[in-house]
């Protein structure tokens, strides 16, 4: 590559980054959307034939594929080990303590007796939410650029970048759809359900509003009571760990429902749940529940145009 070409490429890179910082899209995305909007290129979609038919049956047509992506560094809570009494609670999250059942109050490194803590990783939750927000903002911007009413079949890719510490990539890809002559919306709707489900939803009296997420992250630092129960020979319920996992699940569901309320929807359907645990060193564990769903709003009183017809398939 000549020096000039290299310099131009460098310029382009910088311009893209500057655009992202201003809350816009990178140059490549702007150009692609421009091309699609002006009808210079054919429309694109990853719809299957039945999805395509279903969307048209619901009165919509595909406009083009849209994407939003964001890579974040999540604050250093991954490697956060136990700092009893400090650190954990400063984010303002949930904390629950499990005092030593044997009546010892002195706890510390090397002591057999210590207090257990379950606490919420607020910073971590906020980091993931921010990453997601950035990605969703971009996909919506692309959709708006195409004059679309919504995006269906949004797929979410959530992954750690190999070799980049504490990184998280959040990418969403879907097909933008529109109804010719429909009113202009302030923000296009989004759904992670496929085209067939979108059509069923619409005929069932619901309209998708937005993609909603809920995340609950709890760290479990076992106390001595928990450690002892783990070593027992009998079959016992481990209270602290049960509580920690249940708390993470509850937080996830509460956060999801709060997002549903924020977008002024009635509920979320098709919620996918993903529970993962990470060993944090020592005996500590991070339990994370990730929920993803489509928020829907009811627009019609009667459930279906026609009652469903039971059929028996003869293959």
């Amino acid at each position: 590559m000549s020096d000039e070409a290299a310099a131009a490429a460098q310029q382009r890179q910088l311009a893209s980054i500057a655009s992202l910082e201003r809350g816009g899209l990178p140059l490549a995305a702007q150009e692609r959307i421009e091309e699609l909007r002006e009808g210079k290129s054919a429309w694109t979609s990853d719809l299957s034939v039945s999805e395509m038919a279903a969307i048209q049956h619901a009165g919509f047509e595909p406009v083009g594929m849209v994407m939003g992506s964001s890579v974040y560094r999540i604050a250093a809570q991954w490697g956060y080990t136990t700092v009893y009494g400090l650190g954990g609670a400063t984010g303002g999250g949930r904390v629950r303590t499990y005092p030593c059942p044997h009546g010892f109050y002195g706890y510390g490194v090397g002591s057999e007796h210590r207090t257990g803590y379950n606490w919420e990783h607020r910073f971590y939750e906020a980091g993931i939410t921010e990453t997601r927000d950035a990605a969703l903002r971009r996909i919506l911007e692309e959709a708006q650029g195409l004059g679309a009413h919504g995006v269906v079949g949004v797929r979410i890719l959530r992954r750690h970048l190999e070799g980049v510490g504490n990184s998280l990539e959040f990418t969403c890809i879907g097909t933008a759809v529109r109804r010719r002559g429909g009113p202009k919306l302030r923000s296009p709707f989004m759904s992670h359900l496929d085209g067939v489900a979108f059509s069923k939803l619409l005929h069932g009296g619901y309209v998708p509003v937005a993609l909603v997420m809920g995340i609950g992250a709890m760290e479990i630092d076992p106390g001595c009571g928990t450690e002892w129960a783990l070593r027992s020979w009998s079959n016992t319920r481990i209270q602290q760990i049960s509580d920690g996992i249940e708390e993470a699940r509850m937080l996830g569901i509460n956060h999801l429902e709060a997002e549903v309320a924020t977008v002024d929807a009635d509920g979320a359907v098709g919620v996918e749940t993903d529970l993962s645990t990470y060993e944090l060193g020592g005996e500590s564990t991070l339990v994370e529940l990730f929920l993803l769903g489509t928020a829907v709003r009811r627009y019609a009183k009667e459930p279906l145009d026609e009652p469903p017809l039971p059929i028996m398939r003869l293959r």
Partner: protein
């Protein structure tokens, strides 16, 4: 190009644009129902109330069994049964809090966490639903999907609750002499047959007794799960599980399905008795 008239699509967009809408009453809900399920449940008057969960983490200890005998591991059966019941109770409490009358699409799973200390996490998860026109006191729980429930209720039945029975069984190891003696013949391994047979029967009996106690008329979508969890090959848990139902209408209502022949090329998979897990997004 002229636009095909489509009142539903126009109404939906008008609603999004902030004009007239027919709103859901009460708090926002979350549900892992698929679209089909959400729409069909609405059709029989049920509204989703929220995703509900309950979990119990158990440290499952060891119980020693005689190497050469077939026997039930009473302590383990007891622990597995109790842990599931606790997870279910926690979930029912959650369902009550969000104003549910029942839970559909229940997933009752055991996840083994192998670490320094093997732990078993029992999770119960489903979507709480309620019908404002029905008075009910308790909470019914069912692992049926929304589609199954739609058919069941349309046919005049009411789900009463989950019925399940567990049995953890130790299958005896064969003596070496017997093993050598049988190498050249086709023989029934009576030892294995009877052990597996008995364990299944015990699990099913317990399930039936549970259904009887709740005065059910029958159990639908019953299945037997057979897992060794963390115990190795000779200790097996048999879990019989299903939804107990009662006929509440005067008589079974006929549904009279239409016959249809699919023109799709692909083979339609035969749905077995096991209910579809209510969860995943509509595919």
């Amino acid at each position: 190009m002229s636009v095909m008239p489509h009142p539903r699509a126009d109404a939906a967009l008008a609603c999004l644009a902030g004009k007239s809408s027919e709103r859901h009453q009460g708090r926002a809900f979350s549900s892992d129902l698929s679209v089909d399920e959400a729409v069909l449940l609405k059709e029989i008057g049920y509204e989703p109330k929220g995703l509900v969960v309950g979990s119990a983490v158990y440290h499952i200890g060891i119980q020693y069994a005689n190497w050469t005998t077939n026997q039930e591991m009473g302590d383990l059966t007891q622990a597995m049964y109790q842990a599931r019941t606790e997870a279910l109770t926690a979930m029912e409490r959650h369902a009550q809090q969000v104003g549910g009358q029942g839970v559909v699409g229940l997933k009752l799973e055991v996840q083994i966490h192998q670490g320094n200390h093997p732990l078993a996490e029992f999770v119960a998860m489903g979507t709480a639903v309620a019908n404002p026109n029905v008075k009910s006191s308790g909470i019914w729980v069912s692992d049926l999907s929304g589609q199954d429930l739609y058919l069941l209720i349309r046919a005049g039945y009411q789900p009463i609750g989950l019925a399940f029975g567990a049995c953890v069984y130790h299958v005896a190891h064969q003596r070496l002499g017997a093993w050598v003696g049988q190498q050249s013949q086709n023989v029934e391994l009576g030892n294995y047959t009877s052990a597996l047979y008995e364990a299944r029967e015990l699990a099913m009996t317990r399930m039936q007794q549970e259904a009887q106690r709740s005065r059910a008329h029958g159990i639908v979508a019953m299945r037997i799960e057979q897992k060794s969890h963390m115990w190795g090959s000779h200790v097996i848990e048999f879990l019989a599980i299903g939804t107990s139902v009662r006929l509440v209408a005067a008589e079974h209502r006929k549904i009279a399905p239409e016959l249809s022949v699919s023109l799709d090329d692909e083979m339609v998979p035969v749905t077995d008795a096991a209910p579809a897990a209510g969860g995943a997004a509509e595919g």
